[in-house]
């Protein structure tokens, strides 16, 4: 196979997503857009973790007729980052749900979704 290894693309896309999300978090005023930025950072981190766990020519870490028990250690990708990302997705979901519920509360209180309205704790 020519060109860059496939995990480099996944890694670069993940890093780019993190940057885009960070940009969104820093520049956007609308709370919903900031939450979307956070979700982008989250997804980017997942992609980076998956890319780091990739092993050249590896396949999914599931043993079946295609991957025998004997040669599993040579043929599969690292299962640990996959397990970590599984955890991270669930945590990200929980954090996003809590942030969205805060956004709903702020909107109820201020009738606006702009972060500029929340200036009480600004220094």
């Amino acid at each position: 196979m020519t060109g860059l290894p496939v995990s480099t693309y996944v890694l670069s896309c993940g890093l780019a997503l993190i940057l885009i999300g960070l940009w969104g978090l820093l520049t956007q005023k609308n709370i919903i857009r900031m939450i979307i930025g956070f979700s982008l950072v989250d997804t980017g981190i997942h992609m980076v973790m998956i890319a780091i766990g990739y092993v050249t020519g590896g396949t999914a870490p599931i043993i079946d007729s295609a991957v025998g028990i004997k040669d599993a250690a040579k043929r599969v990708v690292d299962p640990i980052p996959s397990a970590l990302v599984l955890t991270a997705i669930v945590i990200g979901l929980g954090v996003t749900a809590v942030m969205l519920s805060y956004a709903v509360s702020i909107y109820r209180e201020k009738k606006s979704l702009s972060i500029d309205e929340c200036s009480e704790s600004k220094w």
Binding site: L15, T56, P61, I62, A73, D78, T87, A97, S101
Partner: protein, 235 residues
């Protein structure tokens, strides 16, 4: 203006760090030693065909218990933030019913979505998927129900009961691991069975059934909370 400059600078610096990471990245050609152990010893030790499952449920089972706890806390937080107001001083319009197409399609799809969710978490030790994924599928079925029938009321006591019972049973299975096998959340309290069959991998399917029920009921509760009070008919 100054603020924009700082934001720009921050992004440039972060991008510089990231480009360094990306340029110096080289793909692994073999597993790390820990992963090698999980891949070569895991199937015989725990009997789970899906190595990710054996890492999530057994080797790193304590993390998963923490993860379930975080999910529970966030569901409780959402419930606290979005609790229904008691005073009905705001008159709200009744929500428009869903179209017949959506309703009929939901009736057709609902049982299949639930069965598929249960299939995914029961087979978590054999195929891609597991408790969290299956629970999310079940919760998406509940979301479909809420979209198709906006007036439907979920039974909160049923959701709460399922959630507490499965969370409690998860911990009980974990403690049984200390008593009967090697340690907390050890799956070898039950016979490992024949490798690759449904009844194998010791307690992993049981733990994943509890996790699936717990995640499904928690996410259903979160989805239900995000319905505005407006959808509730005034009493």
């Amino acid at each position: 203006m100054l603020k924009r400059l700082f934001i720009f600078l921050t992004l440039i610096l972060v991008a510089a760090i990231f480009s360094d990471v990306a340029l110096n990245y080289s793909e692994h050609s073999e597993l790390s030693r820990l992963a090698q152990h999980y891949a070569s010893e895991g199937p015989e030790e725990l009997g789970a065909a899906n190595l990710v499952t054996s890492v999530v449920v057994t080797y790193r089972g304590l993390d998963t218990l923490g993860e379930v706890t975080v999910l529970f806390i966030s569901a409780a937080g959402v419930g606290l933030m979005l609790r229904r107001r008691k005073h009905p001083d705001t008159v709200v319009p009744a929500r428009k019913p869903a179209s017949e197409l959506v309703e009929t399609a939901a009736r057709l799809l609902m049982p299949m979505v639930f069965v598929f969710g249960v299939y995914v978490f029961v087979n978590g030790h054999l195929t891609p998927g597991g408790g969290f994924q299956g629970g999310a599928i079940v919760a998406s079925g509940v979301l479909l129900l809420l979209l198709a029938m906006p007036q439907a009321q979920l039974s909160h006591s049923l959701i709460g009961f399922t959630e507490s019972l499965s969370g409690f049973s998860y911990v009980v299975v974990g403690v049984l691991g200390i008593v009967l096998a090697g340690g907390f959340l050890d799956n070898r309290i039950l016979p490992l069975g024949s490798f690759g069959s449904l009844f194998s991998a010791g307690a992993i399917p049981i733990i994943y059934i509890f996790v699936g029920l717990k995640v499904g009921s928690e996410l259903s509760a979160v989805v239900d909370r995000f319905r505005s009070d407006e959808s509730k008919p005034e009493q």
